[in-house]
Symmetry: D3
Subunit: 157 residues, 6 copies
């Protein structure tokens, strides 16, 4: 049985994130979506809100659960019986940084990292861009789930 | 008739920027050079100064005008009848980020993005590097127009 | 008035090519789609066939014409009053090679190159992959126009 | 139960290939290592030899089997109940091409592609380089299993 | 006689830095390792501490000395008779930025930049990652010299 | 004393090659420019012609000599007391492949590789493009030394 983690800020979850989570849920026995708690960086949504939105967005996937972590991701993996980290990949710049992290994590533990390419149609999607557009009243429907759309609008009234 | 925008911080305009603006002016009927107003980030030059320097630098190009914008670039395009965004490209890292922005902008509206490679001789030019060098008394003549050189020296007396 | 060229092998035209040609036709006054004649490399379709398929595929675009060239692209541009080369861009590896060509062409003449990013959904599309899939009986509908699909099937009976 | 394929030329298998196969065997229930039969390209080792070397090299991994395929990889997947393709990744140039293939394969079927980064110490390893070095009498011990080393020496006597 | 500089933050020195310094010491007559003093950015170690750790780490290399600089690196080079800057390279993203710096430095003076690739086994090593891991109690032995390890542990008690 | 090699096809030498050779001659005590003899690939110029052109082009550099090699470059280095390979770098795609070669060479021997970025103005220069342009009667003056220009014209009469 292989248990994996999809780590991220998820501030908030986008359709691009869901694309990767759904692929991971098809390939692995158990998937933990884990929100990174970064105390030095204030997000738009609180960690509890982000977990709640992720819970709604992944409710249809029986082998997916939602959690959060601070500290080292590899420590979270060891503590939870997780054998691999799953990352979505959009672009080459992503790849360089992610490869460096993967190699560091692999040198610290036996935790592997696997990369899954995003659907081309979502290749430009990033939470930061979605927030920037929503903040200025732009239309981000189609880029995030409908219930996230409503929450985003409420933040920027 | 095709009207395009060359967006940027232009803090201050360099010879690399002018290279792209001149190419755009040859290819399109009307070119708006638009300074991004970023209220959370203090520049070296005020937005009005940057526009003034751009005005001087593009005075010889009859189909170029200078403006500024805040909010979403695509909203600026729609409000001004602009059908494409023109970006200069120096390097691969540029390309990844710019491609992501272009695809987001294209998903929000029908505004296309076209990329024009910089002249090789200017491929290392960036306003931030120019300011760093000028701040320490380095010689940036040849990298910016002469009247910008004078303004830079005045800033760092 | 700005006249541009979209050069390529177009063996055969794909929906990704058409995406770029349509964008070019919106941005520029006149667009020449030019098939590169490469005598040392036998294609799947004859040059005349490729031009014929391009003619059908671009029949709805009044400012687009189809042609062919051998020799240097910049010579074709000079002989036909073309001021810029338009290239679609899919990926970073593309970009490196295309940038090198653009800089060489710009050093030989005053002909600029502009890059237009492909629609994300077509980012994986290449004639060579389409042919490889079609050859083995795979389904490439949605990747090429319908009348190209029929021609491809006929080639691989 | 997730069954995956590790496709490649494996002419011959290197320690870099084994690194990826071993990681895949830890993460997935069943792993098929499949040699691509390319009739237009003569290899150093015959397909049967390559499969034999792979069999020896993976004998310690109970959930790994060795096979071969021609035609489309996605057809091989469909015919064998394989739900994902596993590729090792060494470098950015790899990534661009592999991403294009992954997106094409995903558009043709529901077969996902996952990328696993190679161990840094093997990041330069490629069968083609190994053969080039061995051909000129260079020492490739440590880069391939010992029984492959012996076969390589025999080829270049 | 060729004198070169290895510039960096070295906060703290890692085995990856040492790998590059040792290669530089083999290739050039004299090597100055120079710590960049950045007054706007508080490091984990003070500049004097970093120089001290570098001194211990390079004590076995007779043609290596340790120094520090603020202002422009090219001014430091001119003032000290240094004819080239030596940089380690890990990844493509590094390369783009470093190339831009190298071209700017070469345009300001006659100082060349040479790039030396890191040993693959250290390709993921960065001081920032080492500090992040050490801060959370992770094991970074093997990534930094032993006396640096002790200092890191003392910082995070 | 450090002796280095600048390897390549040099079919023919361009101003971009000379730029790198001149930088290497400033940085190292002795520079051997070595033409790779590739018997399976017919060049435009014979190896002896290429060496002759290189000899003319580097006549003003007293610490540069011209040679040729077949087999492994690292064997040539060992046989000639050469401690490093110097490569010019133009682009990211170059970098990936060159890095792989550098790591392979470093794993076979103690021979280091150092990369020197080309002058931006020559970043598009490649012998293959120069030959393609010259073949069609394009003007390549400024891209190669004058005596190479004459030889190129003679080849394509």
């Amino acid at each position: 049985m292989t248990k994996v983690v999809c780590p991220g800020s998820f501030d908030p979850v986008t359709n691009g994130h869901l694309d990767i989570i759904e692929r991971a849920a098809r390939l692995f026995d158990e998937v933990v979506v884990a929100v990174l708690v970064n105390e030095s960086k204030q997000g738009l949504f609180k960690v509890a809100e982000r977990q709640d939105l992720l819970g709604q967005a992944t409710g249809h996937l029986p082998n997916v659960s939602v959690s959060s972590f601070d500290g080292l991701l590899v420590d979270f993996c060891t503590a939870n019986g997780i054998s691999a980290i799953v990352k979505g990949l959009r672009a080459v710049t992503d790849f360089d940084y992610e490869l460096q992290m993967a190699q560091m994590n692999s040198s610290l533990t036996q935790v592997d990292t696997v990369f899954i390419p995003t659907t081309p149609a979502y290749s430009f999607l990033a939470s930061s861009l979605v927030k920037e557009v929503a903040k200025h009243g732009g239309d981000v429907s189609g880029l995030v789930p409908d219930f996230v759309l409503a929450k985003l609008k409420a933040k920027f009234v």
